[in-house]
Amino acid sequence: MPLDEFDHLASFSIVGAQIPADKVQRFLATTALLETTETILRVEEPQGPKLAATREPNLARVNYADGVRSEVSGQWQRITQELDSIPSTQLLGRLDSVWAATEKKIGEEVQEKIRQLFTTRAHSKADILKEEASRLAREQGLPAADRWLEAIKDECRRRRGDIGREVSRYADRKERQSRELEKHKEEWVQLLSSTEVEMGEVARRFLMLAGGVMLAGLVFWFLAIPATSALGLSLVVLFVLLALRTARPLFRRLWLSNRLKTAAVQLASAYRALSLCSLDEASKRQEGDYYETLRDTLGRIQEACRQRIALIEERRTELQTRRQAQQETLHDMPATIRPLLREAALDEWYERGRAQVPFSTWVQRVAAFAQEVDWAQMEQEAREAFAFMHAIQAEDELVRLYPTPEKQMEFLESLRQAALGVSDGEAFLALDFAAMQGRQPQVHLIVEIDDPQHSALAAAMQARWAGNGVGMTVERASDPTAITLFGLVYGYTLGSQRAWNEIEAAFEQVKKQEGLAIYPVLFPENGGTAR
């Protein structure tokens, strides 16, 4: 077929105006995510509670202290009540055995239990503080939570110091009480030793006194000396005095009996005080360790908090970079597609989508620094919040950009000219109309617009362009965010391409040099197959 007769050639063009919905959706979704990271990383002075004002996990410390203390105290109470029934000589031994029993109770095993109790309590308390820190992170940002944790750690350190000083005071007190106990013991021993009176000697003296009285009575009777005489009276007085002197140890014993009771009570009290002091000291020492454990645990929480801050800062930087890149490419479109994007529209769309963004849930997720953040899910939710972008009609935006019908048509005319050329027939191919020997290519314009039946722009374009030597079709767009014009030119000949002469000249020259070698496909010369 001669080249000039071949006209199954076509060309096309595509121009249009489009809201860069996908780009804007991504950009606004990134903005929302960035806003979340900035919210959670904002720096505020923490407004959190003091350590003492935070909730306690339970009353284990009080209960335990009361339980152990009352048990120890009860043992001393019992022996104090039984003091009267205990022989004085056995009292010290009994007190020592009670002391040994209480010491055993507050010994290693019990102290280990106290230690475990305080460790558990420290961890429970740390959980409470972690919740509080998460709450602060949500409400005031992660840096505020970090600062608050630091303040709580300081408070723990101070409390630890205070307790250390209290423990040292306990040691002084214990030493003092120990000295007191020793003193009471010595007194007790002395008291006991002073009460050792020889009752036989008293009896022997009374017997001798009684013998003397009987002998003096016999002498008086024999000598008939009346008892009322001066001699008799003197003798009676003498015997009375001797009797008093002989009974003196008995009186002393009566007095010592009362003194022993008092000393026993004092001794038991000294034992009890020292025992309870030991218990209190052990408990206080463990309480100091509790603050140390709590501080260590808080340190780990703070470390997690700081890691989360670092992670979010990294994420923020990445989002800022991404957002910047997205912003810079918002207007990037294929060469013949005009972006429909007003500056104010971005703000409007962001506010519209922002209402759908689950900010509080996001902040909650990000602030919970013990849990991994599912960024992919957040990205997905962000994109869903701005999915409405794909439903915004290009026509609406075009009208907002070009408010008057004249301006709108002026813009659309520029699109049409880009699609079909100035002289209706040149798409993405330059034609030489003079080389067409009177034949004109067929030109068709297809306008793709959303809702063409109700579109005022579609009606205006049809009214202006239809029946003007160019076939025109208005078709419903697959994407409402775009108005697209397809230019189709067909029915021209190869020779009507601009610069075809150059092509022919080059062909002749190369063919002269290479002959058939220039053809990409050769057919057998005889028209049949070469067997």
Binding site: T336, L488, R498, A517, L522
Partner: protein
């Protein structure tokens, strides 16, 4: 969003019905470097439209002797041709070329089946990537790799073109209406080597094997697109383009095409044109007032192809405009004759 009347600022009287998504099954066959520029954008536009999904009824294959990859990054996503890029091996061509130069008769004799189809004395090849404007080298190279590398891929894309009922149902469940029509697009550069030398065999094979209700179009980038090439390259490219058109029209005029060569191939005798329309683009706008860089032109070609596949406008163009232009196009009226060796 409420419909909006731009002229009076009021909402439209009639609410707009929801437009179901749509796909016009289309196979895309790319030949050479220009197609390599188009396809990543085509991937991007199609995947963006279908939410990242690659529909089976939009099969693609790209052939090139130059193994260089191609990709574009759009909105943070990289679109690459790697999954369907078929790197055609030059080694077999180079081996034959060396034998031809050494005149090793026994081995060269095996090439005699190509005589009449390839000017063996003009076969040239270099180790550099691509076919380097040596048309007989390209002519031989395509024939050497045809059965093993090219034909199976062409069959594959044609199989994917018409989705089976299960795939069709699955697409419809996703709200995607599948058009009963389909198209095949062959994209090639007209002034280099791989595109023109592969264009005619590819068109003939596709025309012969295409299913009914399928239109076959070719998009050829004409030599003016070679703006960044040397004068020699441009001149050679112009000659190659002209020679390609001549041979293409020879088939259009009744010439028969043996595929891939006679002794172990088959003859394609087309009683109609080997394509429905040949789209030529030179990357100018407004009658040459503006020249589009190749990258932008490739992007626009990809946009055009994607718009035709994803919206009703594709059916409109096929059914109304192209149908009127080519009323004889009624599907599978090709004739295929199998030749025994």
């Amino acid at each position: 969003m409420s419909p909006f009347n731009p002229l009076n600022g009021q909402a439209h009287a009639a609410p707009q019905e929801v437009l179901p998504r749509f796909v016009l099954p289309s196979a895309y066959v790319g030949l050479g470097g220009y197609a390599k520029a188009v396809f990543p954008y085509l991937d991007a536009f199609l995947q963006q439209h279908y939410g990242g999904e690659r529909l089976p009824c939009l099969p693609r294959v790209l052939f090139d002797f130059d193994p260089a990859p191609a990709e574009v990054s759009l909105d943070g996503t990289v679109y690459s041709i790697e999954s369907y890029f078929k790197r055609l091996p030059k080694k077999v061509l180079l081996d034959y070329y060396r034998k031809l130069r050494r005149k090793k008769t026994a081995e060269v004799e095996a090439l005699r089946c190509f005589a009449g189809y390839v000017r063996l004395e003009d076969v040239r090849a270099t180790d550099a990537p691509g076919l380097n404007l040596f048309m007989q080298g390209a002519n031989l190279a395509w024939r050497l790799v045809w059965q093993q590398y090219v034909e199976p891929e062409l069959k594959r894309v044609l199989q994917g073109l018409h989705p089976d009922p299960q795939t069709r149902s699955a697409l419809e469940r996703q709200g995607i209406r599948v058009s009963p029509r389909s198209t095949i697009w062959v994209i090639a550069g007209g002034g280099s080597t791989t595109g023109p030398s592969g264009l005619i065999p590819a068109l003939c094979t596709l025309k012969a094997r295409k299913p009914p209700q399928t239109n076959l179009f070719a998009i050829v980038f004409t030599p003016p697109c070679y703006r960044d090439k040397t004068t020699h390259h441009r001149r050679k490219g112009q000659a190659i383009f002209r020679a390609t058109m001549e041979q293409l029209l020879a088939i259009f005029g009744g010439q028969e095409f043996d595929q891939p060569y006679s002794t172990d191939g088959y003859r394609i005798s087309l009683h109609e044109e080997p394509f429905d329309q040949l789209f030529l683009v030179d990357g100018t706008m407004g009658g040459g007032l503006r020249e589009l860089p190749n990258e932008e032109l490739a992007q626009l070609v990809a946009l055009f192809l994607s718009k035709l596949a994803v919206g009703p406008v594709g059916e409109r163009i096929l059914g109304t405009i192209m149908g009127n232009l080519n009323p004889d196009v009624q599907g599978n009226n090709q004739e295929e004759e199998k030749h025994a060796a």
